[in-house]
Amino acid sequence: MDPTNFSNLVEPVQVDAFEAYLAAEQIAGSRALADVFLPVIGEQANAAQMVGILGQYFYALDRFFLGLTQGRRPRAGKVFEMLIRARIYLTRPRYFCII
């Protein structure tokens, strides 16, 4: 990596941040689905009943996942801005030395 290139410093961190975001999203999404669907399906339901209920709420799930995917984009943009700010803050002493 060329440390003199600002993009090369930020982009790997952004990729790592997005991976962490997706991992956290999966955990939260799993909890949300359990909170909503377990009371409806019942813990003793068989596979056919479970699939039937999921199919019944197909459009609710469609909207749920649409909201998730749409929401990732502005958050990705915001994270980029936060990383830039953090990077500037962390390198600030070096600039002071130059000055």
Partner: protein
């Protein structure tokens, strides 16, 4: 008491931004900090919302143009502040009425959409043929 300015933006996945602002009258003399706090409770995490649902102008970067993979449906609250400027809300709402509207829409659910399904697209036309009322979306689905 001053009016209250509501500032918001559209931010795409590449962090390109376009800003919007609306000034609301404030006959109930609400404090802008408490307004912002209440608004953030009504909006999605990170202050995201659907502009058309609370009737503020959309400031999409893709409006009337081409879409990119960085585009999406949400606007983002930047903040609120007191201002001596005259009210500019096209619907003549006070900030109290705006808060009520935001809370009402939050209770109904923020209706995310795909920009590729925007008005005028073939997918929008096809979707419009089927009323959402015919689909089983209860179960608090709007709050998912």
């Amino acid at each position: 008491m001053d009016n209250v300015e509501f500032t918001y933006l559209y931010r795409d996945g590449g962090n390109y931004k376009k800003w919007g602002r609306v000034v609301f009258s404030n006959p109930d003399r609400l404090d802008s900090d408490s307004v912002e706090k209440d608004l953030r409770l009504a909006l999605l995490q990170d202050g995201l919302f659907i502009a058309s649902q609370i009737r503020v102008p959309e400031v999409f970067l893709y409006a009337g143009g081409e879409f990119s993979f960085d585009d999406h449906c949400y606007h983002e609250l930047d903040g609120t502040r007191q201002t001596p400027e005259a009210a500019t809300d096209a619907h003549g709402r006070s900030i109290s009425e705006f808060l009520v509207e935001a809370n009402r829409e939050a209770a109904v659910g923020w209706r995310a959409f795909d920009p590729y399904d925007s008005e005028g697209s073939i997918s929008s036309y096809l979707t419009s043929l089927f009323s959402p009322a015919t689909r089983p979306t209860t179960l608090g689905s709007d709050k998912l």
